[in-house]
Symmetry: C2
Subunit: 398 residues, 2 copies
């Protein structure tokens, strides 16, 4: 099973991305549509931030029934903290796409990303939707991925093809990220579609299985968006027989692989990020404790600036681990950076620092902490904290 | 009661700061001593990070008895993750000062700050201690404050004089900070001495009262040091009669005012900080909920970069508030920045943004969120996240 970081056609789905003039940048794609040829099985997960954007509320309502026909996603406005008018705007947006596709509004998931506290122009949105529906094509997932970008520097897509239930099944997806990213029990704006025949309960289960090691295992700045959304739709156009036994596992693993590829792309393109660092904690008493230690390290500004400076700053790693509220045995724990053991048996291996610093010049490396207390393990992908993170976020307009 | 940001002589105490050669910077002060003329009442609070430096363990043991005669504090090495050798080093350091002052080692609190995982040279430390003791003087608190600086750009001192129990009482202190600062239940390296006559239990109570609104109400980067220490010593040389009733409250308030002044100084001089922002949450159901919301906002990298950019980014404030796990009523909450109301009744006051941006150009301003749910309130002081925070921390050597 090989995931490619490119879009792929998925039978039963068409895509579009257009410039609807929702942003103040003429010509920039800002509205995307993913449409199934008929109502299909769907599942979704949403932000756990207690401030939820209007489209999150509406999309959640609609996908709960297990069926969707299309997704409309815009950038330029998050439609969050927009009160009842924002809720109406989200409903009207769903209706606009439903009208153009001639389906029920409850089959549409509206999604928005961009500035909080600002609505978008409904008239422009409607005419954008008409244009997008007229342009829908099987090869335009890349355009859709472009339309949902905010401070992303590039579109993020992933796809894979596998044999399943006697048919060739394609899974393809896209995501947008860049900042305000520590999804926890939810995820970023991400969409995955497949032509596999799969009922909604299995899709929900598949998302639940795919999340912990993909979108929920990344952090860019520890900030959690109000609009995080992940939707999964399955058209059934591949014509496979119902999946069972190992096939279910294979399907879940494939969706998880696509989700993981998209999640990694989000971190690689984190605001100002120059490095992707996988923080792995092993040997904790429980997986939950391992996760707490890993997240404290992955979110520590002092650790992240040290990553940026290619500085194997063991003290900061230890400090961050100590914040997690997990008792550590300093005499036993081992820390490796880029494959170089920095500390073991309670002592820093001073000679190792220089070699670790050399490894940190790579664009991707790992930080491994073995607590030597048990079998609990967790892994979090993070990026460094650079001048450009500050630059991008000090200058991004309200 | 007026706190001055300057050192002051305190009867019964002498101070020194010398260059012991513990850092690789010839001539830079790196070892300080605060010595009482006799064993005096003392109290301390220490980091709650589960990774504790050796001097924290030793100082905690020694101050537990309620009496200290002196403090020895060095920069250049945190003496943390230094194993049993580090523990011995902390004990030997206490012994060195005890020998020079001719008192029991249990009356000495050793404190260290600097790089983690590295010990300091004991021979240099000992000769530095001898030199410092020979130089002890009532006017040298400023030298001491200088000796404990790491990435601080200036020494931080505060003092006040008040009438108490029929005597003139002086309270003076100093602190070092700069990075790795979100003390929570503990505090940074900070020392406060007074000539008031005060028993150890009252000093402990005074610290417990002073902490929540001072050292525990600040954050620079949400990172918690392994060496956080706050010590309070009272010589009794002021000759006041035992404090009671309102006098106890007045003493506590005075110590709290000195602690608050030092805490503010820490934030003003936070690594790369250009602004001090007081995040105040009112109208929460409980003080604990208010504190959670305030800390999420005060620690959000997206909010802090917006402060740096003078960007009244309401969306990020809302996003950060929503992460706190506290249910918010978006239709009712009010948000003011620099005294300008940004949002009320569920809507952003767009015209206010420009005026708020102008207020944010000041070096100090407030962010007020009224949740309109109850009477719980909390206030956290934070700073902005600037290019220089990244620069300082990407370049600070391991």
């Amino acid at each position: 099973m090989k995931v490619r970081l490119e879009p792929a056609p998925v039978r039963g789905f068409r895509f579009a991305g257009v410039s609807a003039g929702l942003r103040n940048e003429p010509g920039r794609l800002d509205l995307g549509v993913i449409a199934a040829d008929w109502p299909v099985a769907a599942a979704g997960v949403f932000t756990t931030n207690l401030v939820k954007a209007a489209p999150v509320i509406v999309a959640h309502q609609h996908v709960r029934r297990g069926r969707l026909q299309a997704i409309a996603a815009n950038s330029g406005s998050a439609n969050c903290f927009t009160g009842n008018a924002g809720l109406k705007l989200a409903h009207d947006s769903a209706k606009a796409l439903a009208g153009a596709l001639k389906c029920a509004p409850e089959l549409i998931a509206p999604c928005s990303t961009g500035v909080i506290g600002r609505a978008y122009n409904l008239a422009r949105y409607r005419s954008g939707i008409r244009e997008a529906v007229a342009m829908l094509g099987p090869d335009r997932l890349g355009d859709f991925a472009r339309a949902i970008m905010t401070t992303d520097t590039r579109p993020k897509t992933a796809s894979m093809v596998l044999e399943l239930g006697g048919a060739e099944v394609t899974i393809a997806g896209c995501a947008k990220g860049a900042g305000m990213i520590e999804p926890k029990m939810a995820t970023m704006l991400a969409f995955i579609v497949t032509d596999a025949a799969c009922a909604a309960p299995m899709l929900r289960h598949t998302l639940a299985r795919a999340l912990p090691a993909s979108f929920n295992a990344i952090t860019i700045d520890g900030d959690m968006s109000t609009n995080d959304t992940l939707l999964l739709m399955a058209s059934g156009a591949a014509g496979n027989r119902p999946l069972r036994g190992r096939e279910v596992g294979a399907f879940e693993a494939a969706v998880a692989a696509v989700a993981d590829a998209l999640a990694r792309e989000l971190v690689r393109d984190g605001e100002g990020a120059t490095k992707l660092v996988t923080v792995e904690v092993r040997g904790a008493r429980t997986a939950a404790e391992a996760d707490r230690v890993a997240r404290q390290i992955a979110n520590s500004p002092l650790v992240k600036t040290a990553f940026f400076g290619c500085d194997p700053n063991f003290g900061r790693i230890l400090m961050a681990a100590g914040k997690a509220g997990v008792a550590l045995d300093l005499e036993r724990l081992e820390v490796s950076l880029g494959g170089i053991k920095l500390a073991s048996r309670g002592a820093l291996r001073v000679g190792a620092l220089e070699r670790a610093a050399a490894q940190m010049k790579k664009r991707e490396f790992g930080l491994l902490i073995d607590l030597k207390q048990g079998k609990g393990a967790a892994s979090i992908m993070t990026c460094d904290l650079s001048f450009d993170y500050v630059k991008i976020n000090a200058e991004y307009t309200t």
